[in-house]
Symmetry: C2
Subunit: 818 residues, 2 copies
């Protein structure tokens, strides 16, 4: 107890707080980590001020009420905006998606379905065909059937797909580079306490909303669900600027963002509870109970708004809502678990392949590919011929009109040339390329041509009398003839067989394209493609099981449960289980995923199959690497994210991690009362540390406090401008009282107000597992290491991440060997 201390300094300490704060102290630079503890203290301080003032006047009381309710207000606004934007995106994407196929003559702004609603002439079976809706071939060539019109439709499909993709990537590149990707890895990082300015700003919001519609409509293998979370978080961030409580406090702002991400998932999947759990399980870092309630509220409001907008006209929040009516049987757990294994394998494969591709993209920047492609496409007929032969097998056998051939090749050539000239860099070209390949390959196969949501809906839905899908063309076995029936659990008809083939091709196509699509410079979600892949695989397994049960109904397994002709296997359920398994394999979510899917079906009944598949998928995936796709992308981008899920299992101690290492120069420390301004600036300029421990004296390294570099710089600047008599040789002191100085010395500079008097310390013997735990749970930025009360070193979040990476490298040969 050498200096200060005792009860007396408590009041003086409080007086220090009341001193006018130095502007700028306590803010953060871009790409820096926030200090949760400090932010939370700041908020409580603010809260106390308001509370103490509120009895002064009615106005202050109103202000305090407003402050207390602002949390609910901001999540309500966020929910409203997210719901409205989601509705808008759904409607716009639907319309633009149908634009690829044709146009509604009676009203341009109707999509295919709405166009045909107004038509009275159609029967139920042909609800998709109506005179008002014209395909492009009908419109341009005047004929609906025949090879020419097929080519024309094909061409227009590619034309629109490329236009949308081009527009999307250009908008992203020019206006808001942060609008690309799914955004979830970055949001995870931001929520864990990192600052990325502009990532959740109004430009990002605007451009992401527009380009998301374009990207989805372009037919690329991507979904809108992940980006919707980003959009919702942008809304949350923008609205939080209306309330000083949230705009001025990075920790509080993150509470709003957690709620916003719940609202995003809520509207993406129509699953408010699933959204909250997603926010809790996957995204959030700091999740107090208050945030749980507000997340739930935001999710509900958003879902409610979306349902009022009713974008799909079925009073459901998502296109692929289903209800099943048949139970499942215990033996079906075997195929469900197999689907889980498939999901896990797919997830592990996808993560590796996608990360490898993204790493390649990062390093090579498509150095020489565009030129080759360009040269190749200078000879349009050859290039086109090449493409078409490779696709002709799956196309209706048809010749090519010379006109369309010419138009097509000119289009490809000119657009590519313009692109390379205009864009200058290659991300744009890459998007166009991927979009072109996707469009060219996707069109001939009905399962890849249609909207992915619609595909999922078709795969999830059970065959019934109202289904006109190819998947439901079963042979009737009543009369033994080849008449077709839509009753499942019958022998499969040729419709089902051809559908199976097309599904297999679609599966391969989706698997390949998704790997190259995720990470493009357009908004791109991963949920829908993953679910589509799983749903295709699941449906295939489901139909196989169904046929197995039909042809071998005397097997002991089927005998017990399946009567002949009875509805015992539900292929749609297999599709749903497969979808959950694949999504689980990629993201490694479990509970939130099961709840999301549960909310899609609304039946407790199917939770056990889902859970079995999702857990299997997680376990299988984890065997190949514990990271989900979002963590992998976070690591790829080098964000400072300390994963709360991964357990630290090594035996290192704090002193093995702390800086300075034994080979480094000694730790830069400040003494509490014998530095001059010049010396202090010297230390700051020589080092690049973000902060400095303040010690008693050179002789006794006992810790007094911690001062941040940014705060010191700002404080000195401020003192120079405002306080007279501060010179280079002014003494700087962090103590309560000014040190006794020689008579002729200049006025000293008191910096106690920027001194953190309660820095976190651990002893050098503290196991790193505890240190990591402290960093995770308290959200620290740095922590001092002491030995018997003396300062030895410092550990920052970055040091810990580096240490984890090192340990990972050391143990890699082992874990890869599994």
């Amino acid at each position: 107890m050498s200096n200060g201390g005792g009860a007396a300094s408590s009041t003086t300490h409080l007086l220090d707080f009341l001193e006018e704060p130095i502007p700028g102290v306590g803010t953060y630079d871009d790409f820096h980590t926030i200090d949760w503890v400090r932010e939370k203290c700041k908020d409580r301080e603010r809260h106390r001020k308001i509370n103490s003032k509120k009895k002064e006047s009615a106005w202050e009381f109103t202000k305090s009420l407003y402050d207390a309710w602002s949390g609910w207000l901001v999540v309500t606004l966020t929910g409203l905006a997210s719901g409205a934007l989601a509705g808008l995106i759904d409607i716009a994407a639907d319309w633009m998606n149908d634009l690829k196929e044709g146009v509604c003559l009676s009203a341009m702004w109707f999509n295919h379905e709405q166009c045909c609603w107004t038509s009275n002439e159609t029967t139920f079976a042909e609800r998709d065909k109506c005179p008002q809706w014209k395909s492009w071939a009908e419109l341009i060539l005047g004929q609906a059937e025949g090879p020419g019109s097929y080519i024309m439709n094909y061409f227009m499909y590619i034309y629109w797909a490329l236009s949308f993709a081009f527009l999307a990537v250009c908008l992203v590149k020019v206006f808001a580079p942060y609008a690309c990707g799914s955004g979830i890895p970055e949001i995870k990082t931001i929520l864990s306490g990192f600052i990325i300015r502009g990532y959740l700003g109004k430009w990002t919001l605007m451009i992401k909303t527009i380009t998301l519609v374009l990207a989805v409509a372009s037919g690329l293998s991507l979904g809108k669900e992940g980006p919707l979370v980003h959009v919702a978080c942008c809304c949350g961030n923008i609205f939080s600027y209306l309330f000083p409580k949230y705009s001025k406090n990075e920790a509080k702002k993150r509470e709003v963002l957690s709620a916003a991400s719940a609202a995003g998932v809520s509207v993406a999947f129509g699953a408010p509870i699933g959204g909250v759990l997603f926010s809790l399980e996957e995204v959030s870092y700091y999740f107090p109970l208050k945030t749980l309630w507000r997340s739930f509220f935001a999710a509900l409001v958003a879902a409610f708004v979306l349902r009022s907008i009713n974008p799909f006209g079925n009073s459901r929040l998502v296109l692929f809502y289903v209800e099943y009516h048949t139970p499942w049987y215990l033996f079906e757990l075997i195929p469900f678990i197999l689907l889980g294994v498939f999901g896990g394998l797919w997830g592990a494969f996808f993560i590796r392949a996608n990360i490898a591709w993204c790493r390649r993209r990062k390093s090579t920047r498509f150095g020489k590919y565009p030129l080759i492609l360009h040269l190749n496409c200078i000879m349009p007929p050859r290039c086109l011929d090449l493409w078409l032969t490779s696709n002709r097998l799956s196309v209706n056998p048809a010749g090519l009109g010379v006109v369309s051939d010419y138009v097509y090749s000119v289009y490809v050539f000119s657009s590519l040339t313009v692109l390379s000239l205009f864009a200058g860099k290659y991300p744009v070209l890459e998007v166009i390329l991927v979009a072109a390949i996707t469009a060219v390959v996707a069109f001939p196969n009905p399962y890849t041509r249609q909207n992915t949501s619609e595909l999922i809906k078709e795969l999830f839905t059970d065959c019934g009398p109202l289904e006109s899908s190819q998947l439901c063309k079963y042979r009737s076995q009543m009369n033994g003839s080849t008449a077709f029936t839509d009753n499942p659990n019958q022998p499969a008809g040729p419709g089902v067989y051809s559908a199976m083939w097309q599904l297999c091709l679609a599966l391969i196509f989706k698997i390949i394209m998704t790997i190259f699509t995720f990470g493009l410079k357009v908004p791109s979600g991963l949920f829908i493609p993953s679910m589509a892949i799983g749903a295709i695989a699941g449906r295939i397994v489901g139909i196989a099981m169904e046929q197995l049960a039909y042809y071998h109904h005397d097997w002991f397994l089927f005998k017990e449960w399946c009567e002949v002709g009875a509805d015992c296997i539900t292929p749609g359920l297999y599709a749903m289980v497969g979808a959950a398994a694949c999504l689980g394999g990629v993201t490694r979510m479990t509970v939130s995923l099961v709840v999301i899917v549960f909310e899609l079906t609304g039946g407790l009944e199917y939770i056990v199959p889902l859970m079995a598949a999702v857990m299997t998928s997680k376990w299988v995936g984890d065997a190949f690497g514990r990271e989900g796709i979002y963590e992998a992308h976070i690591r790829l981008n080098g964000y400072p994210f300390l994963d709360a899920k991964e357990e630290f299992t090594h035996t290192t101690l704090a002193r093995d991690v702390m800086r300075p290492r034994s080979s480094d120069p000694p730790l830069a420390v400040l003494t509490q009362d014998d530095l001059t301004v010049e010396e202090l600036q010297g230390i700051i300029n020589e080092t690049s540390y973000n902060g400095f421990p303040v010690i008693v004296s050179k002789e006794s390294q006992r810790l007094v406090g911690f001062a941040l570099r940014r705060d010191i710089t700002i404080a000195i600047e401020n003192a120079r401008r405002k306080q007279e008599g501060i010179m280079f040789n002014s003494r700087v002191y962090f103590t309560q009282h000014a040190p006794t100085l020689p008579a002729d010395s200049p006025r000293p500079l008191k910096l106690r107000s920027i001194l953190d008097m309660s820095p976190f310390t651990v002893t050098d013997h503290t196991p790193m597992e505890i240190v990591v735990d402290i960093f995770r749970k308290l959200g620290l930025r740095q922590c001092l290491v002491t030995h018997n009360g003396n300062v030895l070193g410092i550990i920052t979040k970055k040091n810990i991440l580096e240490h984890l990476e090192e340990l990972k490298q050391q143990t890699k040969p082992l874990s890869d060997g599994i």
Copy 2:
């Protein structure tokens, strides 16, 4: 850096770890707090050992696999057991509940419903009446109708109720005192890191299961939902003893208990997701994601088992599952919010009244009441007369048979005498009294006589053609006559009016009795009575709204939404909203409650009304006091529970809370190398601290580490027994190397292995809000306070709780004034 330090000691430190551990070190006494950090470190150490061994042999590899899967195994077992026990309890309680009314002649073990299933003669309308089922009057007096048989039934009802209650309380008192109450406050405390040995043991499990059935069947105003959580936690605890990973680690064991409590709620309400959220929001303290997954799994398994048992014969998990088919309208939010206000008021009132009563019970122990009652009942006819006159108004007007009068009075007299003699203490008498009053008052009113779950079901269910309830006797308005119809949204018939009166009486009765029942020495849950109160209030409001809409269908509100004769108000929905609001007011749960009720209805549709009511109820309740009933009971019982929900808003610093206070004697510290065994024991005997800081020397108070009292005592004992040459004047040292001693001194005792080298420290200037945060998030037991590296004092969890209590007392006049 005076001693040790440097890289060399790292290996020696590890060697210390490998020294044989002293048995008993690292365990806890009963009613002590665990150290989460230490427990987690222990578990990681164990994990590392297994991991390093697993490559040695196939056997070790199998062991490591078993270890990795034991977590899933134990939650599976817990889920299975909880589901099975819940099914058992449901079936047994149902049977015994019907025993109060009569008996099934064809098969004694059938309850009323099952008895009449086997009968073929009954029509649907009279499904409750069948020749096999005999009421007690029929059986004993041979007549089913008439005043005599009414009295006989009344008497037998009371007889069974008292017998069940008596048996229950005696079993609890004699075999397992911990089996009483709901158990949730204690489980919350245990999960926060407190040790109560035997609270979750096999005796408690057995007795709680049996007495829960008895208590529910006795007709007391209590539910089985809370105790089911206790039962599930007992299962979890018992199964965790099969796995050393969980039995030997208090922190890991609590993970299992969290999962078990989720399973408990899952079977209590048939709501697996709600159960997980309940565990997360209400019960758990430390809830890592792994626990989330396992909780979900346990909840699912339990629900699955219960559904396989199918105790209610409706393939649902709970009796009161409902489905609504009509939507709600925006203006209905007004009555829903009013129900929320009612729920909040009821909750606040209930908590105050119940706590006041429990405090009285604790302090007076029913000092003089039993004698007065006893004397009163010595004169049986008078006493009986008194009771009957007070109840006759609501009884069918009827005379009394002399025989039953006599039997009745003898019974009351003798049972009370036996009780007072046998029990000796008054809890038993209190239970009997409350049970007697409940039974006497409950019988005449059909809504209180029936099982509370059945009542809730009846109130939740909408009127339809299949409903035979009084509540659905509407007047048909088609022909204008007084013919009755079961179609709602009609003028209410006399059946509805009389039902309304009875419901009002039931409401008052339930409100009063629940206050006195919760806290009795029998297993007693609060969920069902609270829900019943809310459901009654809600149904009353619902019917009122319905009649309002009928008679004023030209009001602008109703005009827009309600057509005449259409189904626009659903009174059952009001009952459900009211139930959620009341339960929310009492427990202050929000999200988990909404999810539980959502799972009961299975419709996203009704989440907004529920949310509105539940949030209103929480806000209204919080205005009168922020504690829920469980926190209030925790505080009443003085458990060391640091609530994670309440925010610390004061400006005190660590030095204001730390011990020793300025008036106290200085802190008892140990020096690292100059104490003798005798001195050490002296310090231990003179003080009652649980642990002591170890410092460098008397001169320099710099902190080296922390040693626990229990560990020191055990270590000295152990050294005396095992190590030769340890005398009273042996030097004790905590350093790495033995100090240099005079030649003739006895062998020194090295205690470094029990020294915690990484104690948590905060500076004296640390705001208490940060300290509280650290304690909560890291689960600390104590924390040392330093100033400039010197030890100043210590803060324990108890100190913090005392400090919080002090602050509460100071601010009480203010907050009470709101």
